[in-house]
Symmetry: C2
Subunit: 246 residues, 2 copies
């Protein structure tokens, strides 16, 4: 049985303001919670789960984490998903700081990215390609938004996501080559990507701000063979990473 | 002023059954409608738009297409989006047939793809890379689902999307090389893609069915450098196409 105040509290965590205040975000579903308990158990603060899940996972959870048993209709109330799956976890937000950032391999910089699905997919793709750090402009969508978490899957806790003034960030690393994804740049197939390097991806409809494009960056593009006006931001990021990382 | 029966009719078109019966689907928003009127005017059957849009676009629409002027609250009722944008078009579904299919360049085959956002993004990416035909298994998500249309953008009418028995389809083209995206295949960087060819992408969680993998296909993979368990299906498709098309 879940209390009314718990319901209200969990629902509040779908808003950035309350997530930041609490230092907590929501992870949903059997698969992600399982991965979380295996890899980052110390971050799990509380679990809300149906009886069936608790029976199966009791030993994995151990005694240090509080579990609240809920009915299906209660899970529906606290879930952000249409079809909630057995369990919801309250998880501490990892704290990554720009101060400890070190250029290493490939860093992805996101300028005003707005779509939660895009950010989640970019996080998952970065994790696939071994990209350890994503720097988001402070006005980009929040990484702990439930939709971002859902599409990032387990990668949300494996990639360092830092919100910062990206103009300042780029200026503070003059020695690192910077590649900016635009529609009229040099073909990615003609670029010999240096490492460490920084890949810059822009907003879904506005692209990269002039303030950044005016600085020392190499403009790069994915060659087009057909008619679409542009590529989705997560798709562009993934194709560039696939070329840059190999 | 929009009639009650129009509202009901348009709302019904968010279901595949009614779309198929009517042979119509919905296109929303200023940008897509503009593209549609420029490139495929003959497919537009009726427009529902606010006064402002009608004033600006009257000459583009011409006299052959019926326009119903609606208020913002009416647009809200017939839209599938949270923030509808000025105009909704009823559009004839193009009819593509497997009978007229000709292997040409790269063909993408989707086995049981379920997520509308993924299909939409794959359509847009195919259009970027000049892929003319997508063959979907009959149990894949419907291409004229409003969410697919929204993420495919103008590409929805530039790529031929055919629903068919894909096992039969693959068997009927024994001469065309087939590349199947799996997690343990040969690196895409070591493949010398022949053309014409067929790229096969599987369901988001189940991958490609054994029935297809048991046939003559080359299993291919995107090399992994990090920790994510898998890549999103649209991301995988785009990275493979980027390597295959160039």
């Amino acid at each position: 049985m879940i209390s009314k105040s718990d319901i209200k509290y969990i629902q509040s965590l779908s808003h950035k303001k309350f997530r930041d205040e609490a230092g907590l975000f929501i992870v949903e579903g059997v698969k992600m919670t399982h991965e979380l308990l295996l890899e980052n158990k110390q971050l799990v603060k509380k679990l809300f789960a149906v009886e069936e899940w608790i029976k199966t996972n009791k030993s994995l959870v151990g005694k240090s984490i509080e579990i609240v048993q809920v009915e299906d209709f209660e899970l529906q109330k606290i879930s952000t998903q249409k079809n909630p799956q057995q369990v919801i976890a309250l998880v501490s937000m990892p704290e990554f700081s720009i101060k400890t950032y070190n250029p290493d391999g490939v860093t992805v910089v996101l300028d005003r990215l707005q779509d939660p699905g895009n950010l989640g997919t970019i996080i998952r793709t970065c994790d696939w390609f071994g990209v350890k750090t994503i720097i988001c402009s402070t006005d980009a969508v929040d990484a702990f938004n439930p939709k971002v978490v859902q599409s990032a899957m387990g990668s949300i806790l494996r990639v360092n996501i830092i919100y910062s003034d990206i103009v300042e960030f780029l200026a503070s690393h003059p020695e690192v080559p910077k590649y900016a994804a635009v529609l009229n740049g040099k073909s990615i197939h003609q670029i010999d990507f240096k490492k460490p390097c920084i890949i810059i991806i822009g907003n879904e409809s506005l692209g990269i701000s002039d303030q950044i494009l005016g600085k020392e960056v190499t403009k790069i593009s994915i060659p087009k063979y057909g008619s679409a006006e542009s590529l989705n931001a997560a798709i562009a990021t993934s194709i560039i990473l696939s070329n840059c990382v190999r």
